[in-house]
Amino acid sequence: MSQVQKSMSLANPAPPFTDLIQKIASAVGGVGLLFMVIALSGAGAIQNSVWLYSALGLIMVGTVVYSWRAYMTKPEGIKNNGVWFASLSSKGLWGWVLGIVLTGFYVVLYWFPQYLGLGGEDAANTGLVAFFDPLSRVLSGNPASQWFVYGTLYTVAILSFGIKFILKYRHNKYQVIRTISVMFFQLGFAFLIPEIMQKLQYPYYSFTNMWPLNYYFFYDWNLTTLLGAGNVGLFMLLFGLAMIFIISPTLTYFYGKRWYCSWVCGCGGLAETAGDPFRHLSDKSLKAWKIERWMIHGVLVFVTLMTVAVIYSYYTGDRNVLITKPIAIGLIVLLGAFVIAIVQANKKEINLSKDKLSMLISGIVGVIILLAIIAYFTGNFVIDGGLLRSWYGFAIGSAFSGVVGVGFYPLMGSRVWCRFGCPMAALLGLQQKFFSRFRITTNGGQCISCGNCSTYCEMGIDVRAYAQKGQNIVRASCVGCGICAAVCPRGVLKLENGSVDLHNKTTELKAIHIAEGDIRIL
């Protein structure tokens, strides 16, 4: 019964027709892109700032005008008409084309920047990278790099599609404020401030990009740079540490991981704005959830191991980390004590549900068994920190977060990276599940099992599975975007913070609605 309409529109998939103004707006944005393609092809004539600023301006104006016509001409409300009919947003031909183009762009960006025109040690930039030189000079005083090109385009995307998103959800104040926040943090903290810092001769540093997302924070070169940059460098180092150990846990305790994932983070920012037309493409099956848990926690273990190794070698100067038998046994004893402590604490205060407790303990026991095997069989175990580091950089830092993370938007939804690969999301998620006031509450028996919430959950959470049982949603992966609550036609979901029931945010199972006292349990 699916009816496929061909549409290239990003802003409002499959309107039966786009009006003249929208067509002009698309053309305007297209011209902006064309300038970049021309620059890429090496045409010298347009290599100056006027062309650059026009190109960026045209793209933004085109997108904003297009979305203005798409949304402001209609009453405010949920506008998902035709999402599954438009080729671009339903894995049709245009979806594939876009996916391939984006993926290709990332491959070039990460591994073949010379094709974008990146100059060498003493060769000047050419092509697209040179096209961005004027802006880079203004901000940081240096010529552009491929990363600068990328950062600028990334920011332009978040800003233009952020405005589009705000127009689309203008009736929903949570969405509006949250989007202004991601736009602000991207433009200021992720883009402008680090560039300007360089101009002021300070190290490149993004205050909002913390370990483990910023996996090189503890790399020797980063530590050396920061420590060599006087008080400002020291402040950056301390701020980075405070982010990891104080600020982030505190905010996550109060508001859940959403404070970062859908209010601050640049990856999340792009997913929420430019990625919005693809959010429904995430896989909701139980199988996908299982894969997700293995992958994301695997990445977290990977990044932790790598970081420990990196710090170790920073101090010892040796890239190999040696785990001797005594160290392994020491770790086993320590972890064992930790398990006992949790079990004890759980009896008295924290009251974790059975599955949470078993999940936690089985994780730790897994590590203990691993250590025991290592200690028993190999005696000494060597971790090659340098190798770990380069593999992490390639596989996770570049291939996963960039190529797959954004390139696969039109195929697997906007949060592929956040869901399957981001170690930051994994860490915040664990905290969200075990020690945070955040949860999504459901409104009694009002759910009609329609499925809008699950469909539009970019993290692939089957929200309906909980809502139709009247159960709260407490999921490690929930980024608190609030879209499930927005699209629910019956007002069933609400993002909420509260401490009273901290360790029992979701009852095991709750009766839908039946008045007899003795059969309240489902």
Binding site: M1, E76, N81, G445, A486, P489, K494, I514
Partner: protein, 445 residues
């Protein structure tokens, strides 16, 4: 023991799920409509492109086998109550030990000339949706007959594809048999704001045949002729029980059931849209064809079948809907024509697309109902207030506990209270703010 369930809608499926939780009985769910349970309430979203059919299935396909619930596709033509056997149109049969009838509803047709033409359809089943889809290609105009919830959903569906729609509504304001005048007027405005042609006080007289057995126009009671390529019949539904005509299962408008949802024949139960309570609870109707009651009956019948007798008790009335972009929720007793002993506090946003109505008993000052447009209220809180016959002033002062709107949404609690203050010459102020901790404490109290 083998339990057969006819109907894989919310009622039948809920019954099956609970029977499985409570027992090891063999369960078979039978349906002629689709292989798997899907959410009927989401039909409109498939047509509008918000979701695909598979997204409307509340359980993944492996769910049924894993929970040992057999699914059978087929149409039951006859129930042999003496032989405890179902006879299928396809020719086969199935015996059962206990039978649950959960066959839902079917759209009303009132004998209009032309009502059985092609391009004329109700909106209830998946097949109805397919018909709508089939005739939408190149469709220039649709006419919808009837002013209920499904009629408006159908209008929204066509509207989403830029197909002009006319709705014929017999009453002089939308759904004013259920909604108080102010809310009903708000729906009228919302329909018109969306450029849907709303014709109030207008009725269908006949549907015109184009000579090929297809509808090509309607003629209304006032003599108006409206050319159209599709006619949607949404003048309500009635229990889908025609196949029981020759059985000895007792029916009136629906299948008659007692407090334990049993029919006149032991071991045969009926739940959901298709059943009619012999003795409805005070203030409730015998047939309540909505999602929620179906679900509650499914749960109740499971207990009864599994040897834990329990009477059906739907509790305090609640329902919800969405009129284009305006969400609607109701809790408790809110009637179109206010009974003498009730008093309303009605607040409406200056923009006219949000309202809060709180009804209370004038003499006892006890809250009896909430009617919300464009504002979300918390089910459990409203229910507890109504159940405990809470004093209206307590409710108004603590109104923040009931609010379920997303964070940062404007607060209107004091504005609502001010209306009461004005009516009563009082000067009360809002006490409880919105906060989960306070809600939790209240609900546990």
């Amino acid at each position: 023991m083998h339990i057969a369930i006819i109907g894989n809608g919310i009622s039948g499926v809920t019954a099956a799920r609970f029977i499985r939780k409570l027992s090891d009985h063999r369960i078979t769910i039978i349906s002629t409509e689709t292989d798997h349970f899907f959410s009927r309430t989401a039909l409109m979203y498939i047509y509008m492109g918000h979701m695909r059919y598979q997204d409307t299935k509340p359980y993944e396909d492996w769910f049924w086998e894993k929970n040992r619930i057999d699914l059978k596709r087929g149409y039951v033509e006859q129930v042999d109550t003496a032989g405890k056997k179902l006879i299928f149109k396809e020719g086969d049969s199935l015996s059962y030990d206990k039978l649950i009838l959960a066959t839902g509803s079917t759209p009303n047709k009132f004998g209009w000339p032309g009502q059985d033409l092609k391009r004329v359809n109700g909106l209830y089943s998946y097949q109805d949706l397919e018909a709508m889809e089939q005739y939408s290609e190149g469709l220039k105009k649709a006419v919808i007959v009837g002013g209920g919830l499904i009629g408006l959903e159908m209008a929204e569906m066509f509207h989403s594809r830029h197909i002009p729609v006319t709705i014929l509504v017999r009453e002089n304001s939308y759904w004013n048999g259920v909604m108080p005048p102010e809310e009903s007027a708000m729906i009228n405005r919302e329909i018109i704001r969306n450029h849907i042609d709303l014709q109030l006080g207008e009725e269908l007289s006949e549907i015109v045949d184009n000579g090929k057995g297809e509808a090509c126009a309607v003629i209304t009671k006032s003599g108006q002729r409206i050319e159209c390529g599709y006619v949607g019949l949404t003048a309500g539904v009635h229990p889908n029980i025609k196949f029981l005509e020759n059985s000895d299962i007792e029916t009136k408008r629906g299948i008659l059931v007692d407090a334990h949802l049993q029919t006149n024949i032991s071991d045969i139960y009926a739940i959901g849209d298709c059943c009619e309570q012999r003795q409805p609870k005070p203030g409730r109707r015998g047939i309540e064809a909505i999602w929620y009651t179906g679900r509650m009956m499914g749960e109740t019948v499971a207990y009864n079948i599994c040897g834990k007798p329990v009477a059906y008790n739907p509790g305090i009335w609640f329902n919800s809907a969405k009129f284009l972009d305006i969400e609607y929720q109701v809790y408790g007793n809110v009637q179109a024509r206010q009974p003498e002993e009730h008093q309303s506090i009605y607040w409406e946003h200056p923009e006219g697309n949000k309202s809060i109505r709180i009804n209370y008993d004038k003499k006892q000052n006890q809250v009896v109902g909430f009617n919300l447009m464009g504002v979300r209220f918390r089910h459990e809180v409203c229910e507890k207030w109504i159940k405990e016959k809470t004093h209206i002033e307590t409710v108004l002062k603590d109104l923040g506990l009931a609010n379920f709107d997303p964070e940062f949404y404007a607060k209107h609690e004091q504005e609502v209270l001010n209306i009461y203050n004005k009516q009563q010459g009082k000067n009360l102020a809002v006490k409880e703010e919105r906060s989960w901790n306070k809600v939790f404490a209240f609900l546990k109290s």
